[in-house]
């Protein structure tokens, strides 16, 4: 009895392994926790921005006080104070003239940004020449007033008033024209920036065969206008935020007020308000600053250049975020299946649409696992593939001096380099490089006996598959994970590949984008949403908005 119990007590090796099995995850956990805290997890609590450090406040205190002091109404002193602040900029111009009634007027503008025609024709002309008799009649004894100016003399739609230096200076520098008039306390700000802009073009990053050929531009008001133009719809609401602590930028949150879930909207607003960054050059910054999990390889907001995609998402109850200066709008929350959907699925009839969808799921599978499966089968389980195929593969691999992992890594890495180089290359050279890289190097590598021709097929199919995914950034994620899958397969064969799949699934089911499970509608099952998942059923069947969005109005038909 005693003997048999003793014989079951494991030896020290097993105890050491047991220790290892405990310590490794703890280390990983501590590292990830440290990383999380270093990156600053955003989801936990809304940390309102504590913008300036104390030194800054101290330094700026003096200028702050000046800035917020109201204007005196005295032409000379006000002009002097504005000049003192911004006259040293070479592109700020001061134009002084006398109005028909005799008051001194100064127009302050930034070269290249101000609306030249508006200022010359509507403002200066009307102030210098027009209606002099009438004006003299009405204001014979009293001085000219602000309301008279705005009501009778300035035929401009966009007029704002500024009371202190801070407001004036910041608006002048973004392109408004300031008008300072002797005897009036307020400074009038006329018009807005009309810098040189790009015209609306077809989006570069998301090509479509069928569908509207317009894409967003860098100008926020153009983008919001494009959204407005989608149809007569009072429920589209656009709220403006200012982001960036140093260089302030406009950011617009768009949603359908009678569809969107109000809690989702609040959450989006909260996260945007908690952005603490001195400058946001692109919406990619916003995406990374509001996402749930910064350690995940998956994106948690969809970026798109296509207005039709944004409108469709808004109608599904999602929220779009547009940043000035970026042609990429963000759509939140995002699910994995969304990344594999293209607007074209809806524009084509439902049968081709469905087929395209399935094709993309297949492409995802290839992009992720094809090289891993190749490695697993070649190195570990040649018995599982048909005998004839094995013979030809082994025949082709005869001269290859490397194990299949190295072989695949060589090819995969070079194709990644090719892809990266192709993005940077000027347009005329790009295709040429593709031919040189893809065809010549591939062929030469096979001839030189570095890799087997079979692997070249696998790598090529994988690369093309990863470009079949409509969202470019999702393709990057898959390519990155592919390398992980290859290593798993190289270490543990097919078993490693299964483990990789389980790990990936485990990560995906834990991931949430603004509270929506990332793998939805796959899990949790929402059969109603499956109509628009792997399949794209006819519109007559898709009567409801996605359940997962918990919209206020779930019915798509009225």
């Amino acid at each position: 009895m005693w003997q048999s119990i003793i014989s079951y007590i494991p030896n020290w090796i097993i105890f050491t392994q047991a220790l290892v099995i405990l310590i490794v995850p703890i280390i990983i956990y501590l590292t990830s926790k440290w990383l999380q805290s270093a990156l600053g997890s955003r989801t936990s609590e809304g940390t309102p921005t504590a913008n300036e450090s104390e030194e800054n406040i101290f330094e700026n205190a003096k200028t702050k006080a000046e800035d917020t002091m109201p204007f005196t109404g005295n032409y000379e002193t006000d002009l002097a104070s504005i000049k003192k602040r911004i006259a040293k900029n070479c592109d700020v111009h001061f134009r002084e003239f006398t109005m028909a009634t005799g008051e001194m007027v100064a127009i302050i503008y930034v070269e290249g940004l101000y609306d030249k025609e508006l200022i010359e024709v509507q403002v200066m002309k009307s102030l210098m020449f027009d209606d002099v008799e009438e004006m003299e009649k009405s204001s014979k004894d009293s001085k000219i007033t602000k309301s008279y100016l705005t009501n009778k003399m300035l035929p401009i739609s966009e007029i704002r008033e500024a009371l202190n230096l801070e407001e004036v200076v910041s608006d002048i520098l973004v392109g408004s024209t300031a008008m300072l008039i002797d005897g009036i306390v307020e400074v009038l700000l006329l018009g807005s920036a009309t810098g040189k802009t790009r015209s609306i073009e077809e989006p570069l990053s998301e090509g479509l065969l069928r569908g509207p050929r317009i894409g967003f531009t860098e100008i926020l008001c153009d983008n919001t206008a494009i959204l407005r133009r989608h149809g007569k719809n009072e429920s589209l609401e656009l709220i403006k935020f200012q982001v960036g602590t140093r260089a302030k930028k406009d950011l617009v949150v768009a949603y359908m007020n009678d569809i969107v879930n109000s809690e989702l909207l609040e959450e989006v607003k909260r996260r945007i308000e908690s952005i603490n960054m001195d400058y946001l050059p692109e919406s990619g910054y916003v995406e990374q600053l509001i996402e749930d999990d910064s350690l995940s390889p998956f994106q948690q907001a969809q970026n798109t250049e296509r207005p039709d995609r944004v409108i469709n998402s808004l109608l599904e109850g999602r929220v779009a975020i547009l940043l000035d200066g970026s042609p990429f709008a963000l759509i939140v929350p995002v699910t994995f299946s969304m990344l594999l959907q293209s607007p074209e699925d809806y524009y084509e009839r439902w049968i081709p649409g469905t087929l395209l969808r399935m094709l993309r799921f297949l492409a995802t599978f290839f992009a992720l696992l094809a090289p891993a499966l190749y490695i697993a089968f070649i190195s570990y389980h040649p018995g599982l593939i048909p005998t004839k195929l094995v013979m030809s593969i082994i025949d082709a691999r005869q001269g290859v001096p490397f194990p299949s992992l190295i072989e695949a890594l060589i090819m995969e890495t070079s194709i990644e380099i090719l892809r990266e180089a192709g993005v940077r290359l000027p347009k005329p050279i790009g295709p040429a490089m593709g031919i040189v890289g893809g065809l010549i190097i591939g062929d030469a590598a096979v001839n030189a006996g570095l890799v087997s021709p079979f692997l070249v097929i696998v790598v090529a199919v994988t690369a093309i598959s990863s470009f079949a995914i409509p969202t470019y950034s999702a393709g990057i994620t898959l390519r990155l994970l592919r390398f992980l899958a290859m290593f798993c397969a190289a270490i543990l064969g097919a078993y490693g590949t299964v483990l990789f799949f389980l790990l990936l699934c485990s990560h995906l089911v834990k991931l949430k984008s603004f509270g929506v499970p990332y793998v939805s509608p796959m899990a949790p099952y929402r059969l109603d949403d499956w109509k628009d998942f792997i399949f794209r059923l006819p519109f007559k069947v898709m009567k409801r908005r996605p359940l997962i969005m918990k919209t206020k109005d779930s019915d798509r038909k009225k």
């Binding site: 014989s7 079951y8 494991p10 097993i14 105890f15 392994q17 047991a18 220790l19 290892v20 099995i21 405990l22 490794v24 995850p25 703890i26 956990y29 879930n261 809690e263 989702l264 959450e267 570990y380 389980h381 018995g383 599982l384 593939i385 048909p386 005998t387 543990l492 064969g493 097919a494 078993y495 490693g496 299964v498 483990l499 799949f501 389980l502 790990l503 699934c505 485990s506 990560h507 089911v509 834990k510 603004f514 509270g515 499970p517 793998v519 796959m522 899990a523 949790p524 099952y525 918990k550």
Partner: protein, 368 residues
């Protein structure tokens, strides 16, 4: 609520969890263990009977849990039988779950070493597997449920396709005569059928997490029916193709059946790889839910945070998994676990249900 902060699962998710838990190691061994006992072809009748009995036992547990809404058995056991006995029983259940998860891992490792990775050390197989499980369960019952929802459809589809492809070997004569030796062999087989339905005991914790605990019975019945049907098909196909003698002689009859034929003209000629893949996934699901149940039990017993307990349980499960010295001991271990299940989760809850009904413990809340 848009963002869910509570860790609740839907009725469908409950069904999926139960099904995934049951579809564990049984698929590969069931035809042999059952036929060994029954010795005739009537195993499928025992299977149906066994499934029904399990449903009854499960219903008892659900009814019991419904008297204590929002609490797992680890929490309310003390209220019924007192602090001391309750704690002891909870500890026993935790140990049970630890043993079960260790058993599943070991079976997985044995099969993987036999068919996929010859010569790879067992610790390498086991460790990587356990770490991924740990990563999953730190996400809570909701993440577990979502993962199961992904792998259950894959499992069902692949299993059915594999079995369908083997239908050319199927011969209905191998399943005759029905009840050739009377009813006794069927009853003899009951015990080994109960073992493959291990998994219903997860209902001691699930009703506490359910969004609508009232639907617990329904979820249990559907959750048990899915594996029951799959097991039935598997058993009939395997015995129908391999005959009783063939089944008894092989260790993993289902795998051997799939290995025994090749289909030319398709991309793949052999399909045991796919069966192994889904089976590894199913073992993963059984292991993770057991692991989670054990950690939850300990956490609720000690009223501590669950995360350190999950980490702390890892080495124990690992050591237990490596205890059996060979296949035979492993199967004995499995039989032992099955026997414990019958007493711990078959008879004990019935006793508890009687106690609560007679002394009206916990039921008061329902009346109000």
């Amino acid at each position: 609520m848009f963002t869910r902060t509570d860790d609740k699962i839907t009725t469908t998710q409950t069904v999926v969890i139960i099904s995934c838990f049951m579809l564990g190691s049984g698929v590969l061994t069931l035809p042999r263990t059952l036929t060994e006992r029954v010795k005739t072809v009537d195993g499928w009748i025992s299977l149906i009977l066994g499934g029904l009995i399990i449903m009854l036992a499960g219903i008892c547990i659900v009814k019991l849990c419904q008297k204590f809404p929002g609490k797992t058995m680890f929490q309310f056991l003390k209220e019924i039988v007192g602090s001391w006995i309750g704690s002891c029983m909870c500890l026993l259940m935790v140990m049970y779950f630890v043993c079960l998860s260790a058993f599943e891992i070991r079976v997985m490792a044995e099969v993987t070493m036999l068919y996929l990775l010859e010569g790879t050390p067992m610790w390498a197989i086991v460790m990587s597997f356990m770490w991924i499980g740990l990563y999953l369960i730190t996400g809570g019952i909701n993440s577990i449920a979502r993962l199961f929802e992904i792998i259950l459809p894959i499992t069902i589809v692949v299993l059915l396709i594999c079995l369908l492809l083997s239908s050319r070997l199927f011969d209905i004569d191998n399943l005759r005569p029905v009840l050739g030796e009377g009813i006794f062999p069927v009853i003899r087989g009951l015990k080994s059928t109960l073992l493959v339905f291990i998994g219903f005991e997860i209902m001691i914790i699930l009703p506490a997490f359910m969004q609508y605990p009232k639907k617990g019975v329904k979820a249990l019945i559907i959750g048990t029916s899915i594996p029951l049907v799959l097991y039935l098909i598997t058993f009939i196909m395997v015995v129908g193709a391999m005959t009783v003698d063939g089944v008894v002689r092989s260790t993993w009859p289902t795998l051997d059946l799939i290995r025994s034929f090749e289909i030319t003209g398709l991309l793949f000629e052999r399909f045991e790889f796919f069966l192994l893949v889904i089976w590894i996934m199913q073992i993963f699901s059984t292991y993770t839910i057991c692991f989670y149940a054990a950690s939850l039990g300990l956490a609720q017993l000690s009223k501590k945070n669950i995360r350190p307990i999950m980490y702390g349980l890892l080495p124990f499960i690992f050591i237990v998994a490596l205890l059996p010295k060979n296949m035979n001991e492993l199967f004995d271990f499995g039989d032992f676990i099955g026997t414990v299940t019958i007493y711990l989760f078959g008879l004990f809850p019935v006793l508890l249900l009687l106690i609560t009904t007679i002394f009206r413990i916990g039921a008061v809340k329902e009346d109000e």
